[in-house]
């Protein structure tokens, strides 16, 4: 057994971050509509790793596919969802990049509106609270989303009802082009949450261990009936908001400075220093996963189109009739 196969927590998270990056970078090459998540992996891997099967995951759109992968999604099917082809879980009816695995235990986005999924996550937490059983919801949202009115309403309601939910602000410092430190008046989202009685912490969002440990503390509180918590994880969006973003709103020096704090490289260095990995092994593993995911995504892109009949109604019964009748 090589060192890399030994299952330390950090090695597990590092592999999850490599998987996320490999899927993300393949999508950057093949999908002009992709929202690159490079640089933010430590936040969504740290926040969503190691949860229970009956917990509800509500990731931010940037990182949603990576969180699906964490929960065991098949990358080929995820990619089909992103391209809207025949094997898409929705039959091509909805975009799989922002809504990869919608279900009773996974919250997705059902339009481009930001903030509603935070309310859906809190609703899921209300449902779990009423059912008992100690399960919880992790709800991640960006610094831009943090300013949506429905998020403010939801934070208040979650605190009032002491819902079992962990809010994670995945602050990549930009809402498309607007800097978070400009857009968010006052002392930031953690102070806002504290004002509502929600225990909050600031963590280094490029340190996967720090994010995970903060999530664990918050999760323990939620499972014990202690209500919501908020984690403000400061990270950096290494790519543009979308492919071909001119990025006129920031300097290359700033981007380079944050590239030096790449969370994957940081975790890999720590593994090497701990003797759990050699630099060569790390490099080979990353190259292999990049190549594997490149192959999967490239294949998915050329898959058959959905070619589904268009139903004449959006009511659940109409949709299900089509599905049950075998028209797929």
């Amino acid at each position: 057994m090589t060192a890399i196969e030994q299952d330390s927590r950090l090695a597990t998270w590092w592999r999850a971050m490599v998987e996320a990056r490999a899927f993300d970078q393949a999508m950057c090459r093949h999908n002009g509509h992709w929202h690159e998540a490079r640089g933010e992996e430590a936040v969504f891997v740290g926040a969503f790793a190691g949860l229970r099967d009956d917990d509800v995951l509500a990731p931010h759109f940037r990182g949603a596919c990576a969180v699906s992968l964490l929960r065991g999604a098949d990358p080929a099917r995820l990619a089909a969802g992103v391209f809207g082809t025949a094997d898409s879980p929705s039959g091509g009816r909805w975009r799989g990049d922002i809504c990869p695995s919608p279900g009773p235990r996974f919250v997705g986005m059902f339009s481009g509106s930001l903030g509603t999924s935070v309310a859906y996550a809190a609703g899921a937490a209300l449902s779990l609270q009423r059912a008992g059983g100690g399960s919880l919801v992790v709800s991640a949202f960006g610094d831009g989303t943090a300013n949506a009115g429905i998020v403010a309403e939801t934070l208040n309601l979650a605190s009032m009802l002491q819902l079992p939910i962990v809010f994670v602000c995945q602050n990549n410092q930009y809402a498309t082009s607007l800097r978070a430190d400009v857009a968010m008046a006052g002392a930031g989202i953690a102070r806002r949450a504290e004002a509502l009685g929600i225990p909050s912490v600031e963590v280094d969002g490029n340190d996967v261990t720090a994010v995970f440990e903060a999530r664990e503390e918050a999760a323990a509180r939620a499972r014990a009936g202690g209500g919501p918590s908020l984690i403000h994880a400061l990270t950096y969006r290494m790519g543009g908001h979308y492919m071909n973003d001119p990025e006129v709103y920031r300097t290359s020096e700033e981007v380079e400075a944050w590239a030096a704090r790449d969370p994957l490289a940081r975790a890999e260095r720590a593994l090497v220093e701990a003797g759990q990995l050699t630099a060569d092994e790390g490099g080979e593993y990353v190259e292999q996963r990049l190549a594997d995911l490149e192959q999967i995504v490239a294949t998915a892109k050329t898959a058959q189109p959905s070619a589904r009949p268009l139903p004449n109604s959006a009511f659940a019964e109409s949709t299900q009739l089509l599905t049950e009748s075998g028209v797929r």
Partner: protein, 324 residues
């Protein structure tokens, strides 16, 4: 009618633990206009009656999320004029979930909203046209207690988001025996009065007003058939088409805004079903495209009244024209 709605909710909650009710003042206060009367005593201790802060978007947003996670929420939104605050989670997104997940995930959710002219003047907007434009959203509107019970039970049992419109002039109106075993389905209109000279189609307050108008018309020898749509979405155009085809004339009486609303949609659906030509004349009696005025006299002039319905029916009915 209010007691029938509350009874339907209470009976459904007794049958199904996954149902909860959230709304402003629905707790010990008993709900706005007694809309949750008695429910706090029955279900409050179990945490199933949740008094909400003034956060309409989050009330409905959390309900959409809870519904996706397995609960069956009922949100008492108080007034329909608050619906616009909730449209992204309720209509744009929540009502799209079944379609967008290929039917794997549904949003069984009821949003109650009081509307129409009535004792709470200043909250009359029903915004029905706005609701009707969203695919996947059902809209029910009872005109009496018996239908109200059955429609609420059907709304709670439905897999889709349903907006349940409660007309404020009818909530605390005439008492009526309720048949709790009556099978009322969403999307099914009801003939409230048979007739052969013309068809009047209406919802909410316009139903009892049309029935009163029909009684006056009968004194003049005109027998009007009155159809209560009961649901605006799905809209039972087949029932209207059959009735108007039989009577030979159609009068649509509507309280809400005329542009892209129930009257316009009824006509459009009749045309689609009939292949583009109707074998009967269609008349629409509805308010002007303005906000509902506040002054009592202006409000009375704005909403179709019994006399206006009688006049419109006489003008619309071929039976009257023949006797002239």
């Amino acid at each position: 009618m209010s007691e029938a709605i509350v009874a339907a909710i209470g009976d459904a909650m007794a049958d199904d633990d996954s149902i909860y009710l959230m709304g402003q003042d629905v707790g010990v206060f008993g709900g706005p206009m007694l809309s949750a009367k008695g429910l706090w005593d029955r279900f409050g201790r179990a945490g199933r009656i949740i008094d909400s802060p003034i956060s309409e978007a989050a009330m409905v947003g959390t309900a959409v999320g809870a519904a996706m996670a397995g609960s069956r929420p009922i949100v008492d939104l108080m007034f329909a004029e608050f619906l616009a605050l909730t449209m992204t989670p309720l209509a744009l997104e929540g009502s799209s979930v079944a379609y967008r997940t290929d039917g794997r995930l549904t949003v069984p959710l009821v949003v109650r909203a009081k509307c129409g002219v009535g004792p709470h003047r200043g909250h009359a907007e029903s915004v029905i046209g706005m609701l009707m434009s969203f695919p996947g959203l059902k809209i029910a509107m009872p005109s009496g207690a018996s239908d109200a019970y059955g429609l609420m039970r059907a709304a709670i049992a439905d897999q889709n988001p349903v907006v349940f419109l409660e007309h404020m002039s009818l909530l605390h109106g005439a008492k009526e025996d309720v048949d709790t075993g009556d099978d009322v389905r969403l999307g099914q209109a009801a003939v409230k009065r048979p007739g052969q000279d013309l068809t009047i189609v209406a919802t909410g307050l316009m139903v009892p007003r049309s029935l009163r108008a029909a009684r006056q018309l009968a004194e003049d020898g005109v027998e009007a058939e009155v159809v209560d749509l009961r649901s605006l979405a799905p809209l039972d155009a087949d029932c209207v088409l059959e009735s108007a085809h039989r009577t030979g004339a159609l009068l649509i009486v509507e309280e809400s805004w005329p542009t892209a609303g129930p009257a316009a949609e009824t006509v459009a659906q009749l045309l689609r079903r009939s292949g583009g030509t109707l074998d009967f004349p269609v008349t629409v009696l509805d308010p002007p495209p303005t906000p509902i005025p506040f002054g009592a006299d202006l409000e009375a002039a704005y909403v179709p009244g019994v006399d206006a319905i009688v006049e419109a029916a006489k003008a619309a009915s071929p039976a009257v024209k023949e006797t002239r």
